[in-house]
Amino acid sequence: MCEVKVITGTSAAAEAARLADVDVIAAYPITPQTTCVEKLAEFVANGELDAEYVKVESEHSALSVCIGAAATGARTFTATASQGLALMHEVLFIASGMRLPIVMMVANRALSAPINIWNDHQDSIAQRDTGWIQIYVEDNQETLDSIIQAYKIAENDDVLLPVMVCLDGFILTHTVEPVTIPKAERVREFLGVYEPKHAYLDPDRPITQGPVGVPDCYMETRKQIEDAMERSKKVIKEVNEEFSEWFKRKYGNGLVEAYNLENADTVLVAMGTVCGTIKDVIDELKKEGKEVGLLRIRTYRPFPKEDVKELLKDAENIAVLDKNISFGFNKGALGIEMASILKNKKICNYIVGLGGRDIRIEDIKTIINDVEKSEDDKTAWIGLKE
């Protein structure tokens, strides 16, 4: 049956790409993504995965190779982090604009300067508007499962958008956890063979891809991406359900995960591994008779507006944790967006964990106390040195 391996998040990502039987991998190393592309190189070298492994000379070329390959009808995979993702910026828009179902692992890492290899979410948050679906995972199992799900979502005819699966650098990429590895045949059956019905390069059916979008048509292409994002919400939920039927694991409703939200006046909103720490604090406080809830945002794009509104309608104290900062606005991306959705609510934004600054249980408790006693919206940086 299934096999359980004790592996890092990057290995889990590589296992997922193997299970998805990807055709073309473009690999360029960057800390803390590196062990993912190393693992994939091993799979290909040992014949465990039949794929073209293209050892590109930059991340810009990594995504460009994936675009060329996906446009020819291949299932593609690449992985990056931080500066590498920033270097891809231009090409990210093109992948979504050409509606190519590329899947990429992002090992979340801070951006220079000063150069810093440790975790925060600034790198992928900075790519918010590139038309990519973004899934933030909490553990290594979810990394593997989300990458498999990502292909099913991306390749859905109602979606046809690229997906980045974001996992916290070092916290997951370099930490081993037991991960259940499904059988390759099961995953391949679950995903099916990728048969693009949309545009792809074939001499028997010559088409022009990537033409000049004149003002008469460009705006419609943007609206089509937005519409696909909107439709993807339903698809992500369905894939989450279907995945759970096949593999007995699910992640909230696919878009969000609610943890102890009932009866909780105070709710924390966050993404990624910090949610694990928050859950521990919630469990601890529960024993003391205090109810605090967590709303984990799993898909930052598409943003689960409807779920957020519904699930937080009774919350009184909302603390939004951001591992990123929008300079000049003194808020994180999640904080800004929650405020735009939830009118007339007290929403305090906490900037945490930038560049790998540790987020301790005490910090979460500080945030809970702070949001409960705050009378109005505010932004606070947690864990700053005096």
Partner: protein
């Protein structure tokens, strides 16, 4: 040499009258045939041939960005390999993957991706259509702009006489990658060019052809002179035609007697600021280069 009458590059496009890049595309497709996938970076050729919903391309064609044609072509080629092997797609068909990029997209911003693709050994042909400046954005100098040519970013001023650096030798840099086939060509010698395209496509691995195509707008000459100017570039030894097959260098066209560079230079507005002395200097530079190549 026989070439098909069929036009895979449709006659309707938005190039300038006398456009050399359109001639490149037409000749390449005549030589390559219909089982060809073209990758074209941002630039004149892309802009003038694919204003949606129109296209001049009767073969599958893709444009992604300015600096990544070689990487995109690498991806196309890798996908073909994987899909043939794993799923029997494109069964038994030999598909040519050809990137056609301008000198800006090739020698400058796309240089890293090009070097990577050549070094990795992809089975692709990269054709650099060399018009010696960024023509699409309005004639700015590239590293392929020749010495003393005036462009909008290397203007002929009272202190600086146009471009102050010699033309970068991209073909020789590609040869230094140890790839099996490198050639130079010029649209004024269509049979030589098409023969080189055909030969390149018969060779497994990465191939590179630098084809000179005079640009009526950027170089400043009447549109009907495109072929004549290209011919003079070769006859003067300014743009020698050669091929390097598996490391072996061979001149493919040797002018019986090299014409003076002055004949070429005096026909173009980009050189109109040059004095006879300046032209003499260029002549000496070209003489030295030709000597090295045995011309």
């Amino acid at each position: 040499m026989q070439f098909p009458r069929e036009e895979l590059f449709a006659p309707g496009h938005r190039g300038c009258a006398g456009c050399g890049a359109a001639i490149v595309a037409r000749l390449v497709l005549k030589a390559a045939g219909k089982d060809t996938i073209c990758v074209v970076p941002t630039g004149c050729l892309e802009v003038m041939t694919t204003p949606y919903p129109e296209t001049s391309w009767r073969v599958p064609w893709i444009h992604v960005a300015f600096e990544n044609a070689a990487a995109v072509a690498s991806g196309v080629e890798s996908a073909i390999k994987a899909l043939k092997r794993k799923r029997g797609k494109f069964a038994n068909k030999k598909i040519n993957v050809i990137a056609i990029g301008g000198d800006g997209g090739t020698a400058d911003i796309g240089f890293q991706a090009l070097s990577g693709a050549m070094e990795r050994g992809h089975n692709i042909l990269y054709i650099m259509y060399d018009n010696e400046a960024y023509m699409n954005t309005g004639i700015q100098r590239s590293s392929s702009t020749p010495f003393m040519a005036a462009t909008t970013t290397s203007p002929a001023g009272s202190k600086i006489k146009g471009e102050d650096r010699p033309k970068k030798d991209v073909a020789m840099i590609m040869a230094a990658h140890g790839i099996p086939y490198v050639a130079t060509a010029c649209i004024s010698y269509p049979e030589d060019f098409m023969r080189k395209v055909k030969k390149a496509l018969s060779i497994e691995g990465p191939k590179f052809i630098q084809v000179l195509q005079p640009c009526t707008t950027g170089w400043g000459y009447p549109p009907h002179k495109t072929i004549e100017i290209g011919r003079l570039a070769v006859e003067t030894g300014i743009f020698p035609l050669y091929e390097i097959e598996n490391g072996e260098f061979r001149i493919t066209y040797k002018p019986s007697k090299r014409k003076p560079v002055k004949e070429y230079i005096r026909m173009q507005k980009r050189y109109r600021h040059l004095t006879d002395e300046d032209i003499e200097r260029i002549q000496r530079y070209i003489d030295e280069k030709c000597k090295l190549l045995g011309l």
